[in-house]
């Protein structure tokens, strides 16, 4: 955690209803925002303005299609390492240097480095793991997803 937690953005009830309504099922019609706005009792311009504001304020990180890399022939694998504290910065730089590393988080645990490898083919995951192991001198534990239990985010209005 940062020393001081970031301020939570102020969302009013309408913002929360918008975020909840936009969890999925965005219409594939000529004027989709108008349709969503009508369902929420808003007008299209207000919905667009609020979406723009929430994206600018980083309340939303994205609005659009969420792609499943695996279904495009690519692979997305969570992996972890136990990095000695004294080597942490060096290893973080080496791991982050690989373009295949999409996210990397420090976590409070003996397994203190958790990252996601994203490659265009499943075969390249093994090559990336090997490269990290040989560069850092530490074993990499890969945790490929075996099954996903579907969830969606719900904000309480």
């Amino acid at each position: 955690m940062p020393a001081k937690p970031p301020e939570a953005a102020v969302l009013d009830e309408t913002d929360r209803r918008i975020v909840n309504a936009l969890q999925g099922g965005f219409p594939l019609v000529d004027e989709p925002y108008r349709e969503v706005a009508a369902g929420l009792g808003l007008n299209e311009a207000e919905l667009l303005a609020r979406l723009e504001r929430m994206l600018a304020a980083r309340v939303l990180t994205r609005f659009g299609p969420m792609f499943q890399v695996e279904r495009m022939g690519g692979a997305f694998v969570l992996a972890a390492m136990r990095v000695p504290e004294a080597d942490f910065e060096r290893v973080a730089a080496q791991v982050n240097g690989l373009p295949e590393v999409a996210h990397n988080y420090r976590r409070e645990h003996a397994f203190n480095m958790w990252f996601v490898l994203a490659t265009e083919t499943p075969e390249r995951i093994a090559a990336a793991v090997e490269q990290i192991e040989s560069t850092t001198g530490l074993p990499v534990f890969a945790f490929p997803k075996e099954r996903e239990y579907f969830v969606e985010m719900k904000l309480h209005a």
Binding site: G25, D30, L51, V59, M66, M72, R106, E146, R147
Partner: protein, 160 residues
């Protein structure tokens, strides 16, 4: 594996940063890609049906909406019961991602991963108790790993 043609890939590249915030977003994409607007909608509909697109929607930033404590909870759940229980854990309001992953014995005994978000750690701990009750005797042990720093974060990028 669904087949994606070149036009599909261009559509993925054009939308991976987001959908245009204009009244007719699919028309804007069609113009950018020199396609017909109906074709853009039809291709997105097919990719949704094939699972290439999981959903079209908004991705909230957990920190910004007040969930500043983010714990990766991990559970050692009996293999025979994990799928039914995993679905139940995934259905909880407080869980945003829930996956079955392989154990790495003897270093790592956990096969169920559930991300739990709350405004503080006490809130995460409360939710961990809730999950523990739900799993009951199917769970042998569990742990929670709090994130303490983002070391790298890049969006998904596929080559154009």
């Amino acid at each position: 594996m669904p087949e994606l043609d070149d036009i599909d890939r261009r559509l993925v590249v054009a939308t991976q940063a987001g959908l245009p915030l204009v009244p007719r977003p699919y028309d804007v994409l069609a113009q950018q890609l020199d396609l017909d607007a109906a074709d853009v909608q039809a291709r997105l509909r097919r990719m949704l049906a094939d699972g290439v697109i999981r959903r079209i929607g908004a991705v909230p930033n957990h920190y910004a909406i007040g969930y500043t404590a983010n714990g990766m909870t991990v559970w050692d759940v009996a293999d025979a019961r994990i799928d039914a229980l995993g679905a139940a854990v995934g259905a909880l309001d407080c869980v945003t991602h829930c996956y079955r992953r392989p154990r790495r014995l003897p270093d790592w005994p956990y096969n169920l991963f559930a991300m739990v978000h709350s405004s503080n750690r006490a809130g995460v701990e409360e939710k961990i108790s809730l999950i523990a009750r739900l799993l009951g005797d199917a769970c042998r042990s569990h742990d929670v790993l709090y994130s303490s720093r983002i070391l790298k974060k890049t969006g998904l990028r596929i080559a154009g």
